[in-house]
């Protein structure tokens, strides 16, 4: 290789490095813009939603006076819409944060049993709307190392789905037991069956089993992110006419 060729190659390399640096700076700027956009979105969407959600609830709770039957019916529709909007905003923000890799899990030694109990209790009003019996079955569980708030999100999403896809008067069960050095949590429903071919797609973003049900198709994707970030696995089993079971594992705290 002549001196001239080496010089040319070296100049070319320098140019490439410059290009890469430029591209890197551009990406960083885009990332900052995305963050700012998300923060702005969160603020702009949540701000008007807060009075909507609170006031509809206050009216339904008769905090602001009596209601007739038609008014109550109308308000329940507004309430469901506002809650759905709120839930979608939260999910979009959560998935954006998870994908950006900037989520820090606040892992600590926690007991899953009281957490499962709390989330199940919180979900009972939603289940009652469809006359669904929501029960839990747990054996004695050792502690896990997990971010309690995020685990509550996983459970909430799974129970919300089970309720959503169950028929009126159905049954949803949350079970937790120890399996070796893992805790196995399962949410069972007797609702819509899921075709085996759809199993791999279930946990991907925007995938929906049934387009007639509301939802952005983000809940299960969030669950997968969070369970895997805790060193666990998540999967689904379903049999025609028998409903579905969503399971996830978490390693026991040593």
């Amino acid at each position: 290789m002549t001196e001239r060729t080496v010089e040319l190659a070296s100049r070319e390399l320098k140019e490439k490095v410059k290009e890469l640096k430029r591209a890197y700076e551009e990406l960083k700027a885009l990332d900052r813009m995305k963050d700012e956009f998300l923060a702005m979105t969160a603020h702009e969407l949540k701000t008007p939603l807060t009075p909507m959600l609170s006031l509809v609830r206050q009216m339904l709770d008769r905090n602001l006076g009596k209601l007739n039957e038609k008014q109550e019916k109308a308000l329940r529709i507004v309430s469901r819409g506002a809650e759905r909007l709120g839930s979608s905003i939260e999910k979009i923000l959560e998935i954006s944060k998870l994908e950006s890799g900037r989520v820090e899990l606040n892992k600590e030694k926690i007991q899953l049993a009281p957490l499962i109990q709390d989330v199940t209790e919180q979900m009972k009003p939603l289940a009652r709307l469809k006359k669904i019996t929501l029960t839990q079955r747990m054996t004695k569980l050792p502690p896990v190392e997990a971010d309690g708030r995020r685990m509550a999100t996983v459970l909430t999403n799974l129970i919300e789905n089970a309720v959503k896809f169950s028929p009126e008067g159905g049954k949803v069960t949350v079970e937790a037991k120890q399996r070796g050095n893992k805790i196995l949590v399962q949410v069972r429903d007797k609702g819509v069956s899921i075709a085996k071919k759809d199993f791999p797609k279930l946990f991907t973003k925007f995938f929906q089993v049934n387009h007639t049900r509301p939802g952005a198709g983000l809940g299960l994707n969030i669950c997968k992110w969070l369970v895997e970030a805790h060193g666990g696995k998540i999967w689904c089993e379903s049999k025609l006419g028998k409903g579905s079971t969503f399971s996830f594992t978490l390693p026991v705290k040593r």
């Binding site: 807060t50 009075p51 206050q58 709770d61 905090n63």
Partner: protein, 123 residues
Amino acid sequence: MAKKVMVVDDEPDLCETVKLLLEGKGFETVAAQSGAEALKKLKEERVDLVLIDFFMPEMTGRALAAEIRADQKLKDLKLAFLTVALFGEVGEEDLRELGILDYIQKPFDNEDLVRRVKKMVGE
């Protein structure tokens, strides 16, 4: 005597919403739509708790809390943030340094907000 809660938020609708909720539960309320208005009103009337929005133009929630803590007459007031800000945006250190009792996220659950307000004012 009913406990009095001040709501500081640049969104008038939010102030009105929290006022309606708390008044329905037997609290007295007062609203301020800026940090400056809050400081002025706090010097005129006694309140048991101040719920402060974090993102406000001119004086932010953090700046208002700092002003309150720096004021001899107001420094012992009970303060909480009521905000869309994420926990990470507020910062745990700030909460501790400013003596913020609670951090309630918007949108809030009515019952949860009332329960936490009651706890803070010692009801």
